[in-house]
């Protein structure tokens, strides 16, 4: 039983909640795994680009810092999460799709 002091939830809102839940379940079953796999594929390509251009930040200098500095303003928003991902402990069990 709901709290009698609380106003009853409008019918439309309840329906919206159920519809969101159904959409979430369908998305989870059909597409979530594929979306995360696609994101990971893009991540590896972006890592490659970042390594080539800003590798010296991780101690892997590939191109002269002059060009790195030109790219730096565009790369700044991603640097923290990039370092976090690159330094993350990885294993063969991560590769199951």
């Amino acid at each position: 039983m709901g709290d009698p002091n609380q106003p009853a939830e409008p019918k439309g809102r309840k329906r919206q909640k159920v519809s969101q839940a159904a959409k979430g379940v369908l998305y989870g079953m059909a597409a979530h795994g594929h979306v995360t796999a696609a994101l990971r594929t893009r991540m590896y390509l972006e890592h490659l680009f970042m390594f080539i251009t800003l590798g010296d930040m991780l101690g892997v200098p590939v191109i002269p810092p002059y060009y790195s500095l030109k790219i730096l303003p565009y790369a700044v928003p991603n640097i923290k999460s990039w370092k976090q991902r690159v330094f993350r402990e990885r294993d063969f069990t991560d590769q199951v799709f």
């Binding site: 989870g28 079953m29 979530h32 795994g33 991540m43 063969f92 069990t93 590769q95 199951v96």
Partner: protein, 544 residues
């Protein structure tokens, strides 16, 4: 019309009710008392959110994803173990196994990963058992992947050879439609909904074409299976070599729709069975011993969890059962031909989509194992894939598939048991109650190792029967035609399977011992009182 008790309705409703008790009763209790989860604590998805590897999703998405990960070929065909021992023992084990073991392992693995900054199974094994433990796991996984591949290739070949040959064209249809969808999605950047509609339309057309153009082979069941298995291996080779977004990903996405339509239809068919009058056709209890596969313990516990009847005939009988359950809902007997093709296709795509991932995973693990050093050639992606599929193909066409299935079941459930022990180690280290995990963990490890011993013994026994008593029939039972027709070849394959069984057992046992030792140490460390604070606990006492 069959009475209410004769239909599957009540059993399905009772099982759902018990699952509700598991979720709201036992599940909540374990969560509160063992894991002590706190909704206010930030998870790695929030702490390290980068929109790529770490990002939060709703509980519904998580549930859908988990459901999809669990529902594969095994659990769908699982209830068919009833043919061997009766359906009551199988149902009891499914309910009991899920209630006390299955969800605990899934939820525990997830919570362990959450508490360990989102790390996966490998790094956690390394942390708890060291480099040797991780190498041990790697060796076990390699054997396990070969056995899975052999089993699934054998099954796909049998499925293509059955159902009047109507399932081959739809399978190719699903694969080509998947390839096309991948191109439309990633190259032409088409809308996902539009691509999905086109893909599903093509799958429906391919099912129709499959019925119009059945593909059969003329060499008899034994040799046909050999060629079908070779075709399957070629498809898997292509799937493992091509980039994931080109082949595996769009194909698996498209395969989801027919596969889950089948599950929904079966559930609906069971719930409406009092109205359609479809009775439970199999015997409730047959006995505790089966002449082909052996005793109910440990065999039932490895075959039903892995999920398939060990008698080859029931593979196609499953489709008959599904037809009977669903046909009254979609037009009666006139729909039987379409349903046979549809359910046959569903079995194949469940096996094929999983197997494509397994083959790719094998080549990645092989790369990890042999990438450097004297055998680096085995780490090459073409060589590794060819080697993995070649060995699996030989096993698939030569071993009795139920024997392979039991090896697969044993190895599969042993991996689950080892995962449970890993969770128990974590709980012991954090001084949490471990009983709810250790008891199922010990049960699973002991049962699966016993199943591996039993299965290995059946191969040893077949060789003894031939060598000592000149009984070639025992040898023929352990292998399959055409190999079983050539006694020396059958003996050689039998010996190889003995080797595989012994290797699986020893590697699994060594991993289990390692985990039990670590658990014992962690538990002993947990018994030592926590060190007192430098001030003797005065400050803490004051705050209370």
């Amino acid at each position: 019309m069959a009475g209410l008790l004769e239909t599957p309705f009540l059993w399905v409703v009772a099982t759902i009710a018990l699952y509700a008790v598991a979720y709201w009763g036992y599940g909540k209790w374990v969560d509160r008392n063992v894991w002590r989860s706190d909704a206010k604590k930030a998870t790695p998805a929030h702490m390290y959110m980068d929109g790529v590897e770490y990002f939060p999703v709703s509980r519904y998405v998580l549930w859908g994803y988990q459901f999809k990960s669990v529902a594969a070929l095994g659990p769908i065909l699982g209830p068919f173990i009833g043919i061997a021992y009766g359906w009551i023992p199988a149902l009891l084990w499914i309910i009991g196994g899920n209630f006390f073991i299955g969800w605990l392992q899934d939820y525990g693995s997830m919570m362990l990963s959450v508490r360990k900054e989102g790390r996966s199974f490998g790094p956690i094994t390394y942390e708890f058992t060291g480099a040797k433990g991780r190498n041990n796991l790697l060796a076990f996984v390699l054997f396990y992947l070969i056995i899975i591949s052999a089993t699934f290739i054998a099954l796909i070949a049998q499925f293509w050879n059955a159902f009047g040959g109507t399932t081959f064209v739809p399978t190719i249809g699903v694969l080509l439609s998947g390839l096309l969808c991948g191109q439309l999605l990633y190259k032409l950047k088409m809308n996902v909904m539009a691509v999905t509609v086109i893909g599903i339309g093509l799958v429906i057309v391919s099912i129709y074409l499959g019925m119009l153009i059945p593909v059969t082979m003329p060499w008899g069941a034994a040799w046909n299976t050999v060629y079908w298995a070779a075709i399957c291996a070629v498809i898997l080779y292509v799937a493992a070599i091509l980039p994931v977004p080109t082949f595996i990903q769009p194909t698996n996405y498209l395969a989801f729709y027919p596969a889950y339509t089948a599950i929904m239809l079966l559930l609906l068919g069971a719930l409406l069975s009092p109205f359609t009058g479809v009775p439970v056709a199999e015997p409730a209890f047959v006995g505790v011993w089966n002449n082909t596969i052996g005793p109910i313990w440990p065999i039932l516990f490895v075959s039903v969890v892995a999920g398939l009847s060990p008698t080859g005939a029931s593979v196609t009988a499953w489709v008959g059962g599904a037809q009977a359950l669903v046909s009254p809902l979609v037009g009666g007997k006139s729909a039987n031909a379409v349903l046979a093709t549809f359910f046959g296709l569903v079995l194949i795509i469940y096996a094929l989509t999983v197997q494509a991932l397994v083959t790719r995973f094998f080549r990645l693990v092989a790369g990890e194992t042999w990438g450097e050093g004297r055998f680096h050639i085995l780490g090459n992606k073409h060589v590794a894939t060819f080697f993995g599929l070649g060995v699996s193909w030989v096993f698939a066409i030569s071993g009795s598939w139920w024997a392979l299935w039991l090896y697969f079941g044993g190895a599969n459930q042993l991996l689950a048991g080892l995962a449970i022990m890993l969770i128990a180690i974590y709980l012991a280290k954090t001084r949490s109650p471990t009983r709810n995990y250790v008891i199922p963990g010990v049960f699973m490890v002991v049962t699966t190792l016993a199943a591996l011993i039993w299965e290995t013994w059946t191969f040893v026994n077949a060789a003894i029967q031939y060598v000592v008593y000149n009984n070639a029939a025992a040898l023929a039972q352990q292998t399959r035609p055409p190999v079983s027709g050539v006694t020396l070849a059958a003996l050689a394959i039998d010996a190889v399977f003995v080797g595989v069984g012994v290797a699986l057992f020893l590697v699994g046992l060594s991993m289990a011992i390692r985990l039990f030792r670590t658990y014992g140490r962690s538990k002993a460390e947990g018994r030592v009182p926590a060190p007192a604070a430098a001030d003797g606990g005065e400050l803490e006492n004051k705050s209370h």
